[in-house]
Symmetry: C2
Amino acid sequence: MTHLNETHDPALRSWVESANQATNDFPLQNLPFAVFRRQGSGEAFRGGVAIGEQILDLALAAASGAFTGEAAGALQAASGETLNTLMALGQPSWSALRLALSRALREGAAEQARLAACLVPQSDAEFAVPARIGDYTDFYTSVHHATNIGRQFRPDNPLLPNFKWIPIGYHGRASSIKVSGQTFPRPVGQTLPPGATEPTFGPCKRLDYELELGVFMGSGNALGERIAITDAEASVFGLCLLNDWSARDIQAWEYQPLGPFLSKNFATTISPWIVTLEALAPYRVPFTRPEGDPQPLPYLDAPANWAQGAMDVQLEVLLQTQAMRDAGEDAARLSRTSYRHAYWTVAQMVAHHTVNGCNLQPGDLLGTGTLSGPTLDEAGALIELTVGGKQLLTLPNGQTRGYLEDGDAVVLRGWCEKAGAARIGFGECVGTVLPARQV
Amino acid sequence: MTHLNETHDPALRSWVESANQATNDFPLQNLPFAVFRRQGSGEAFRGGVAIGEQILDLALAAASGAFTGEAAGALQAASGETLNTLMALGQPSWSALRLALSRALREGAAEQARLAACLVPQSDAEFAVPARIGDYTDFYTSVHHATNIGRQFRPDNPLLPNFKWIPIGYHGRASSIKVSGQTFPRPVGQTLPPGATEPTFGPCKRLDYELELGVFMGSGNALGERIAITDAEASVFGLCLLNDWSARDIQAWEYQPLGPFLSKNFATTISPWIVTLEALAPYRVPFTRPEGDPQPLPYLDAPANWAQGAMDVQLEVLLQTQAMRDAGEDAARLSRTSYRHAYWTVAQMVAHHTVNGCNLQPGDLLGTGTLSGPTLDEAGALIELTVGGKQLLTLPNGQTRGYLEDGDAVVLRGWCEKAGAARIGFGECVGTVLPARQV
């Protein structure tokens, strides 16, 4: 999986001209998947692959006759309203499809004429959640986030003793996961004001985002079976951006003893595009842990996990307030980090999740947890950046923020770049806070 | 919903003779729903309604022409592989179908000849999970359970301050919910042995059951909207038995700070039959709280919640060890209680879950949490009955149990009975522990 092949060659160019621009998220070396239709068309949603500023319509491509064999079967599986069927096919099929698409979209490909008719501009498209997500699990894999948050919730005991042994995770809500562009009313609920002994009820006052990556499962495991860590990556379809919106005041009052609930389940936003693990192969980096930290237990340990277990996906969070939108000002960056700092890898998340026999199914989504980096300015949530709302951030237009206000749009971006490899990107994940509904 | 009508008349008798036996779970006044097919037939699963020892095949009944109007539409919706479509129709349709089925299955009904051809003996049937469960949420509504458990996990602080304000809940795993008859290998995982500072890995040593009821949602709510407490019961399709299998040693080590995960998601077993809220109307009882406890916040409060908010569903847990099975001995009762002791009602669970705009969808499942009664012998889990495995239970054959052993089958049963109303039952929910897979 971490293995490079002809599809990663940085010299490859596409006959889709916009794919060859250096700053583009979707060159020929990326080929991420989404589910889309023409905006406002009422057409059926179907699978698509990004190429430059275009989408290759996979239902049309399947019907075009331009592909044969395993790739044709995979295209057929990607033609429906969700990608679950493609995800269930497994890694060899995804890889066959990637190779065939790479070849057919290259400059000089014989398929150009047939496939040019299968392109839809991204600017004309609307997207859907790319899979029927049977179950959604959110992990907590950044030791920096866990420590920063733990310091605020449990000052005497910031990092719990299980953190360095267990990839901590909990079940989240699948029904409220929507694709980029999601808007949602500020949640209302119970909170315990500082010093009070009885809760009050009303709109959340400490609304936050969380910068995460989402991991879409491909082939899963049967109930009662498990996925060994050495097989874990082959069971993963790909990664997307994920914003795990969080109501910190609701969370503080509700989370004991069974974990976050209404503080999280009102909305989760993901990017439309899923970047496959194969596309990320050039950006694999060694997985490291601080000296003296425990060796993972055997079921969470494998040589590959150390050699190329991590991924250098660069990430940033931007904020655009209503005033900035009204003034035509761009979103302002709040922080920047990389997924390489995670304490637990994707393979460890999968191996841990299934070690007890829990079944993961194609299309299931795992969140990485907030991906804060080692320094506080690399934090992936306002609760960290503003130290619990106490140190306000000042935006370029002079506005300040402790937590999110109504009208705020949060933009997540992710990309990989380095010398000797093609830059690939995740596109954007955008969500906007609306005022609370009448209580 | 708490309202009695002709379908509740205890004098009603069915032309299906086995429905008229006094100890039967499925008289004409019950009419619970399941999804079934003939055992080993490879037929498509379809909806069925229990009547005595028979199942009325709803796909055949729909095709029989015996029904018209709203009931015919509801039957059509109940003919597929899950009941989600029926659940989405809403309370007036469920009620119309119940009335039509009640009339058509009564002694002397004109439909007898046509419907007699639509019966399948329950003994010939196999069942499936009755709905596609989009999301599963488990609550924690028994103050007795919360106190008993809290005493063991947090001796100094057994009942947390939020318990009497919030119907505490957390998201569970939908993929591992299976219907009665489920078998599963003992989970393996990390545990922290007493006094140790580093975890060990291996089969769970403190495997437990939890006696719960499951609440299947009918018509739900759109994301961003909420279900008011006064509308909450009309959005609920019905109740089933639910066993929330729990690995206590895995739970103790993993549950901070985000709640139970691998300790719960390896298996959850539900009964095949869903008893509608309308069928339970004769068994509604006042909802009470101890003097001095807080009044629920307005969004969790309503006159109906106090007058008839609770349900007197009697519940029992039985255990049959492998030795008992080999000797042909019946399962032995471990405890008995009633759902009337719950601290939070079904309506409160629904109103709370949606107050922040979280969307509940048809077929979603809510667990009540372990339904322990006021005294320790009414507890719904071994961790309570054996005080954390320290006070062994002695079974009729002399075997003892602290926690579950391999080969143990746990049987949940539920029923309602009182003078002046027909006895109705939930059938059984059975699950069996298999040895752990090779680690």
